[in-house]
Symmetry: C2
Subunit: 98 residues, 2 copies
DNA sequence: TTCGTTGTTCGCAAAAATACGAACATTGTA
DNA sequence: TACAATGTTCGTATTTTTGCGAACAACGAA
C-alpha cells in the first residue's frame, strides 16, 4: 500500500468518465459534438426532466470542463470546451487502445 | 417532453462511463489494457483500499461487462472482456470524434 | 413599472455509491 | 482434521448523486 497511487491522468479520466456517466449528459455531449452549440431550452423540450434538474446536469458538465456557456440574452448558448474535449479524446484513446 | 428519449447506445455508454468514473477502476482497466490479466491480490498490494472495497470495484467492472474473472485456484484471474471492451471503444470513438 | 422569458439556486427527499471490518466460503496443504 | 490463503458477502455508516418544485435573478418588452 502506497500513499499516492493514482496519476493525475487517472484522476482526470475518472472525473470525465463520471461526468459522462448519465444518459442525460451523454445525450447533451452527443448533441454538442454534432451541432457545435445549443440552448438549454432546446434540451428542456426534448428531455423528460425538470429544468432545475437539467440545469444541474449542465453545471456538472461545466464543472468537469466539458462544456462552456456564453450569455446570449435572454438565453445561454452552450458549446463544447474544445480544449478539454480534445484532452478527453486523448485520455480515452490512450486507455482504450490495446 | 417525450417518453423514450435515450437510445440504447446512449444508455450503454453512460453505464460504461460510470463504471470508469472512479480512479480505482480506471487504474484497474489501465492495468488490464496493458498486461491482459491480473490477480486481485496484486491490486490489493498496490491500492490503498480494503480488500472488500476492492472486491466491490471489481464487481462493478464485471457488472458493467468490462472485465471477467476466471477461477485459478486459489486465486481469480481477471481479464478484460474483449468483446465489450471493443464495444466501449466504438461508443467512445463515436462520441469523441468531432 | 409591470410582465414574460430564461435559467439558476435553495431546500428537501430518496436513492445510489463508497468504504470498512467481521464473518463466511472454498480449496489446497500440513 | 485443522490451518492458511484467497476472495466474497453482510451489515453498517457516510457521502454523493439525482430529482423535484418553489423562489429568485436578470433582462428585454409592453
Amino acid at each position: 500500500m502506497k500513499k499516492e497511487v493514482f496519476t493525475d491522468d487517472q484522476k482526470q479520466l475518472a472525473r470525465i468518465a463520471r461526468a459522462l456517466g448519465h444518459p442525460v449528459r451523454v445525450y447533451i455531449m452527443e448533441l454538442l459534438s454534432q451541432q457545435s452549440c445549443c440552448y438549454s431550452g432546446d434540451l428542456s423540450d426534448e428531455l423528460p426532466i425538470a429544468k432545475s434538474t437539467l440545469s444541474q446536469h449542465l453545471k456538472e458538465l461545466k464543472t468537469a470542463g466539458l462544456i462552456q456557456g456564453e450569455i446570449e440574452v435572454p438565453k445561454i448558448k452552450y458549446c463544447i470546451n474544445q480544449k478539454n474535449w480534445e484532452l478527453a479524446q486523448d485520455l480515452f484513446k490512450n486507455l482504450l487502445k490495446k
